[in-house]
Subunit: 574 residues, 2 copies
């Protein structure tokens, strides 16, 4: 590509409403332009990267045996009423009426449309399994679209849906997609993790999220650097320290703690490590009489995990805190000084607490705590459960090391939908015995446009974007210095450009005749991973200059070996 | 591709609501499935053809120097209000509100969005010209969507928009696009015509439509088989016979024509050729006093062309017929017996009438006509104008032969928008003298999904679709007979399939193990242009069978030469 035949539009400053790095850089580098909140035009430079992502996704989906289709953006409400998502889906579902006053949606996802296709097309077990996917424009009416293409309203997704005769076959395809997504994100050149995830609102059981690791990510991920284990922090199982509870070494002592309401205050006031304290949290039970207070005990520096707690039998779900009135009746004290000693109701302690001795806890007397509290000695041995979020240093649930915590940006998600949609929409087939069965379904999404934002969040510096080579708008930029003045530069630049094209390298020749400073700043902002500079100074010694986007220094390369050298760089880089 | 890894779904009968051939065949061949009125899912087989069309369109647009972008489907109403199309566009514009009650549209076209991009990005004549295009999903809320993808509501378009410093440069790009479209439709393998067209509602002046020629087309096109001339029948200039008016040979005679109201009745009753009669049509003038009747004279077998008539100075536009009351006052007679003799008002005759003598015309006396009427002798020489639609046999306006009439399906349209949008939306640049100017704009559309319907309307037979090779879902199908039973068939079919893939041929191996009759019927319906059959019967003599989709008979080909033979067929076919 010649720059003069292309469109390059960089900005010195990002618009003031841009919030995150990727959004600022995409706007500054001219990859996207805003049309309305969360709605963008993909400019030529951005579209090239977008298409490269799409191509990799398609190649790997096809290789995995999925078959491409294209479903409409505008979908009839009837299908959403059948699946009962017309009511269940919130205001993110963009609803509209056509000229005949019929209800439609601009689809945020396509379970209904594809299930309607499947129930009409797939009648026999002989036609199963099938996996249909598409790369398509979706709309989700976010209440607060932000972060550019990271949480836009109109976006491109790859969404695939698989149909199976039985659960074992769904599991096989789920694994196939797990492997396929792993290949896709590897080919995209991204540092990512497959994360065991909650299923969210899309329904069904069994799911993994694929996260691009980036400090600016919205999700906390617990992972084991020594194994494949990764999970949303809220879902990872938290274990105790794996050592037996020490014997009590102190006697129970009631101390006055005037005005102390929080764990931080308490540790501060008593000048003790927060790890020696225990938090008491009172929630409602769901057994007769409903709402009866249940006491949860979590180490002072740990966080209660509501999802884990509400899954415990006898605990009201969603997790609901007991009212101050009920607490006062049950404990004889107010929050801030609560504890198990003297409490007659149900007590559940976290696994970590179960291994503690001589800790500090509320005394059920306002402004008083116990120090030297011990389980079994000072109060009855309570139930034990996993009640908290994991923290860095916790043992990995797979037993292969310790957990670390990082932040991630969700770019892919695979689900076992099971029969949620096939039952709601009567999507049935005849099995080998001639019996009608509901199909088992899986669904598999990749946020194609979001990937670009995530890739930039992961790969940037003060000068701009640093694209992974596979999805850079161009692999290489050729910058001639003094193009307008030097015949030698023009001639050699043109010849090298043509040789690079012939070698199959995705190169852009910057023939805009800009000053070197302007050229270099533009291409560093745009983030093209490889740069070659060709100028009279080097040419007189038969040299050109190569610099990788992450390199600190440029290399002088003989012009005669330029193509081979660059080919080598492109092969080894990622 | 292996058929077992693909998705083939043919139907014996088209759904009862399918109206036209292409729609029926696309549904029967499993290319599309209906989701709602005018809204379809592209099934795997149809999507392959769609992608091939997109690829050819992109390649030629890129080659022509246009730059690809991707604009959003959902567009803010503000832009449409600025261009005043928010009001002007009818109910085909799908309007909607987001969750914050802001107005949006699902875009049927993108002049506003791209003009908004251009006015923000292009500031100087140095940045001009620019041509941006996209291949994108559009929505037009047709009152009566029909004919499958030919007049759907959601569809794919290639729409391009060019921006220029002056009109001469717009004209250059317009010609560039005329040539590019010609290349595109040629590469698609379609019989088409570029047709001078009215600009319709999109605005501006200067436009050509590109029509795929098909008997089932909705538009009548006049074209010259001996030249490039082609125009919408309503726009082609109609000339007289090019010979002088003969001298009168009969005297004027008033004949009784009881109950004769139409030209057909008249010719029938008088036993004369309809070409010797003249129709009198009375329309309203727009001069003072407004609405004054004007008499238009057109040969009996010709059709009045309203667009031409209303362009004549002094004629009310849009063309409005005079009321029966006004006619009775002005002519003393009712429609069916009207004529120029004795009429005191303005009379305009068509060029063909101007060359007639001894014709029959109404006598301005109910149930009476004149025969042997002659211009100049029996009434004053009237004004002459082009008032009618052209008919087959008319001289071509370019003087290169006679016109023929055919029917076409519009699949492309190029417009000179001029400054309609740049003025409405303040899209200006600084010219070489530092003066602000409005950009000249062109716009260029191709109905990508519609092309598939048009291609099928043009190319089909009783057995199904006959794809032009360039856009067939597969170029070649390999049908093994007795795959399940014969090791030789399996072995040779697999080997040939692999050799064909290696040769870069887009082949599908039908490994479904269906009976030959089922296979052949499926692939003839789907319309794959080349077929090879491999079976034990031929293999024992080292032969396979080749048949082109349009061929009457199959050929026996030595297996050893199969790849070369097929490559030859693919190279020469279109």
């Amino acid at each position: 590509m010649l720059a003069s035949r292309f469109f390059i539009s960089t900005l010195k400053e990002a618009p003031s409403d841009a919030e995150v790095t990727s959004q600022k850089l995409m706007l500054r580098a001219g990859l996207i332009r805003k049309v309305a909140a969360g709605i963008y035009t993909w400019m030529p430079m951005g579209l090239r990267s977008l298409r490269k992502v799409e191509t990799i996704v398609r190649e790997e989906m096809n290789r995995a045996g999925a078959i491409e289709v294209l479903m409409p953006a505008v979908q009839p409400a009837e299908l959403w009423q059948e699946s009962q998502r017309w009511e269940a889906y919130g205001p993110e579902l963009l609803r509209l009426k056509d000229r005949h006053d019929r209800d439609f949606v601009v689809g945020p996802t396509h379970e209904e449309v594809i299930t309607d296709v499947a129930r009409r097309e797939l009648k026999s077990y002989r036609q199963l399994p099938r996996h249909f996917y598409q790369v398509q424009t979706k709309f989700r009416d976010e209440i607060r679209p932000r972060f550019g293409v990271m949480r836009g309203r109109e976006f491109t997704m790859k969404d695939g849906y698989s149909f199976h005769a039985d659960y074992a076959d769904l599991e096989r395809e789920y694994r196939n997609m797990y492997d396929t997504y792993t290949r896709i994100f590897t080919r995209l050149g991204l540092d990512f993790r497959a994360v065991a995830a909650d299923t969210g609102s899309i329904g069904g059981t069994g799911s993994h999220e694929f996260h691009v690791i980036a400090e600016t990510g919205e999700d906390d991920i617990a992972y084991c650097p020594d194994s494949d284990f990764a999970a949303n922090v809220e879902l990872a199982e938290a274990f105790g320290p794996g050592v037996a509870r020490p014997s009590p070494s102190r006697s129970l002592e009631k101390v006055h703690t005037p005005g102390v309401k929080t764990i931080a205050d308490l540790a501060d006031y008593l000048k003790i490590p927060v790890e020696t304290t225990v938090k008491a949290i009172v929630v409602k039970g769901d057994e007769t009489p409903a709402g009866e207070p249940v006491l949860l005990m979590v180490r002072g520096d740990h966080e209660l995990n509501a999802i884990k707690a509400q899954k415990i039998e006898g605990i009201l779900s969603p997790l609901t805190f007991a009212s101050p009135e009920d607490i006062l009746v049950a404990f004889g004290a107010n929050p801030g000084s609560l504890g198990p000693i003297g409490f007659k109701g149900r007590v559940i302690m976290d696994r970590t607490v179960a291994a503690m001795a001589d800790f500090v806890i509320g005394a059920n007397d306002d402004d008083w705590h116990y120090v030297g509290a011990n389980i079994g000695r000072d109060f009855e041995e309570p139930e034990v459960a996993d009640l908290r979020n994991v923290v860095a240093g916790d043992p990995s649930p797979d037993g292969k090391g310790s957990l670390e915590i990082c932040r991630g940006i969700e770019v892919g998600h695979i689900f076992q939908l099971r029969t949620k949609y096939s039952e709601a929409m009567c999507c049935r087939f005849l099995d080998e015995n001639g019996r009608e069965q509901h199909m088992e379904m899986g669904c598999y999404g990749i946020g194609v446009t979001r990937i670009l934002g995530a890739a930039i969040e992961q790969n940037n510096d003060a000068r701009g974007i640093i694209w992974p080579q596979a999805i850079a708008p161009f692999e290489l930029v050729l910058c001639p210095v003094g193009l307008g003045k030097s015949d030698a530069v023009r001639e050699h630049a043109t010849r090298l450009y043509e040789s690079l094209l012939e070698a199959g390298i995705d190169v852009i020749l910057d023939d805009r005749n800009e000053r070197p400073g302007v050229m270099f700043a533009d291409w560093e902002l745009i983030g093209v991973p490889h740069r070659v500079v060709i100028g009279d100074r080097g040419l007189k010694d038969g040299l050109i200059e190569y610099q990788g986007r992450r390199d600190v220094e440029a290399l002088q390369i003989p012009l005669a070996q330029a193509v081979d050298f660059i080919r080598g760089k492109l092969t080894t880089a990622s």
